[in-house]
């Protein structure tokens, strides 16, 4: 989805600056720190990702409950089960090699890390390759369209219950992360 009014673009810059500042402050512009998660040395990535996810999830959930946010006005991405599973697998493998994800590659590049620039170049190369091979990839890309599906729909549970489950899972991850830090 492309949003392109002038106030929206200004807002994009400001929100992006806050996002980039916080990623750098947490140390996520450093590939060596980022891959620490995969060798169970440093779970900072998981701590940051899941505390951000839970904060936003609870924020949206309660703002919606209190009538302060119209959920229908928020863009919920469509689910495509098979290509998203395949895409996730390719992405995870690429992440181990790159050491940086698309957002943090910008943080790395902006703070002087040449490996960040290399990851950014790789991303453009990969997307270009995808675009030019699209005719033969489209069958997989467009398969299993399930529309704007949510976990509460899939599990047949009230949203509040799923929000609670995700929160508990995140707390479990935090416990493991803190234990690793204590033992280090």
């Amino acid at each position: 989805m492309v949003v392109s009014t002038v106030p929206a673009l200004g807002l994009a810059l400001v929100l992006g600056m806050a996002f980039g500042w916080l990623l750098e402050r947490a140390g996520l512009g450093n590939a060596r720190k980022l891959v620490g998660q995969f060798y169970l040395k440093d779970l900072t990535v998981l701590e940051v990702l899941f505390s951000a996810l839970v904060t936003a999830m609870l924020g949206v959930f309660w703002l919606d409950r209190l009538g302060l946010l119209d959920m229908r006005a928020v863009y919920l991405p469509d689910t495509f089960a098979v290509p998203q599973a395949l895409g996730g697998a390719l992405f995870g493998g690429g992440l181990v090699l790159a050491g940086l994800c698309p957002g943090t590659s910008c943080v790395a590049a902006a703070t002087g890390r040449a490996d960040g620039v290399a990851v950014m170049a790789g991303l453009v190369i990969g997307i270009l390759a995808f675009n030019f091979a699209f005719d033969s990839l489209n069958q997989v890309y467009a398969s299993t369209p399930l529309g704007p599906l949510t976990l509460p729909d899939v599990l047949h549970l009230p949203a509040g219950v799923v929000v609670g489950m995700v929160t508990m899972m995140a707390l479990g991850i935090f416990t493991v992360a803190r234990r690793l830090k204590r033992d280090a």
Binding site: V2, T55, P83, G92, G93, L97, C101, R113, P148
Partner: protein, 170 residues
């Protein structure tokens, strides 16, 4: 050099930025979309705008059939990420012209692995319709089923591939 901020504090801050994006713009944060926007402009440049617009993978990035990364929300957001990160690292004394890599890895080998990993992530993010920011974080917080499929498969693949890439980082 300033110490890194507590990860829970930084994470909660990012969560609040995301809520602000939902409230003010009606969509979450993203990163791979900005690269897709730039790549779409390049695709249109090579293949011609008419052919590029005919492809469902490129068309969403060519509003009215015109390549215009400069009017794409995500491109501005990612430019903001770079500015915010630069100012933060500058204030913290963490700006450094360097290549982050494992001790036993040469700089060219690290650059090659970064380009290869980036390309794999680019293809993956296209199939998944987003990356760590757009799917895992922004979609995950809205409990999108596809976002959670992405979170589970990305981390599973990462942990499965990590032992094979150990030499790269040790």
């Amino acid at each position: 050099m300033t110490r890194y901020t507590d990860p829970y504090l930084a994470g909660a801050g990012i969560g609040l930025v995301l809520v602000a994006a939902y409230l003010l713009v009606g969509q979450g944060l993203g990163a791979s979309g900005a690269f897709a926007s730039v790549a779409a402009a390049l695709t249109a440049g090579v293949a011609g705008t008419a052919r590029a617009s005919a492809s469902p993978a490129v068309a969403p990035y060519l509003p009215n059939g015109v390549a215009s990364p400069l009017t794409d929300w995500l491109v501005w957001e990612l430019a903001g990420v770079a500015i915010g990160a630069f100012v933060s690292a500058w204030r913290a004394g963490r700006l450094a012209r360097t290549i982050e890599r494992g001790a036993g890895v040469s700089a060219p080998a690290r650059v090659m692995s970064a380009v290869t990993g980036g390309a794999l992530m680019g293809v993956g993010a296209k199939f998944a319709r987003g990356c760590t920011s757009g799917q895992a974080l922004s979609g995950g917080a809205l409990l999108s089923a596809g976002s959670w499929i992405f979170i589970v498969t990305a981390f599973a693949a990462g942990y499965a591939a990590a032992p094979l890439a150990r030499r790269l980082w040790s």
